[in-house]
Amino acid sequence: GIQVEQSPPDLILQEGANSTLRCNFSDSVNNLQWFHQNPWGQLINLFYIPSGTKQNGRLSATTVATERYSLLYISSSQTTDSGVYFCAGGGPGSQGNLIFGKGTKLSVKP
């Protein structure tokens, strides 16, 4: 199966700062999703983005499928953005199954 690598592993921001999280995958994917796991453990789907760019409020994501990476942008960060951000991908033969990266742990300080 594919390998999913996320960077950085940890990130500390001051409230109001911007950040970029990166996800590299070892092979072609046709299913790429970003999730936020809040401090209570709930996984929230942020984006379904196998290619292209999407925006939702202060968050946006870009996937360049031909170069096997995806980026998650967080602008004007808030303390509620804290938690772990996971990227997960699946290839053409995966039947919808996702391989998750190890996550980026984000802490936003007031």
């Binding site: 453990g41 789907n45 039947q95 919808g96």
Partner: protein, 113 residues
């Protein structure tokens, strides 16, 4: 729409005991997944159902884990007998179809002592 429902929320058992988890996906979602998340790691797929059929159970430890989705709606995951290394959060997710966006439930946190 209602989200993915899971129960119980927490469970503590002794090793070698059995335990069962329940999941009710979003209405109309054909695909249901069970993932295991060990502390500090990303979720790992255990089993995928499409309606009431198994699509992928290649990573399910079948000597102790079993799962079913008899009527193509809710699902149960069972562990018998449990081992200490089974301590983890068990997450259920559903999607409209294969390859679609996931919605996760709140998970069941299992502690095996």
């Amino acid at each position: 729409e209602a989200g993915v429902a899971q129960s119980p929320r927490y469970k503590i058992i002794e090793k070698r005991q059995s335990v069962a988890f329940w999941c009710n996906p979003i209405s109309g979602h054909a695909t249901l997944y069970w993932y295991q998340q060990i502390l500090g790691q990303g979720p790992k797929l255990l089993i995928q159902f499409q309606n009431n059929g198994v699509v992928d159970d290649s990573q399910l430890p079948k000597d102790r884990f079993s799962a079913e989705r008899l009527k193509g709606v809710d699902s149960t995951l069972k562990i018998q007998p449990a081992k200490l290394e089974d301590s983890a959060v068990y997450l259920c997710a559903s999607s409209l179809d294969r390859g679609g966006g996931y919605t996760f439930g709140s998970g069941t946190r299992l502690t095996v002592v």
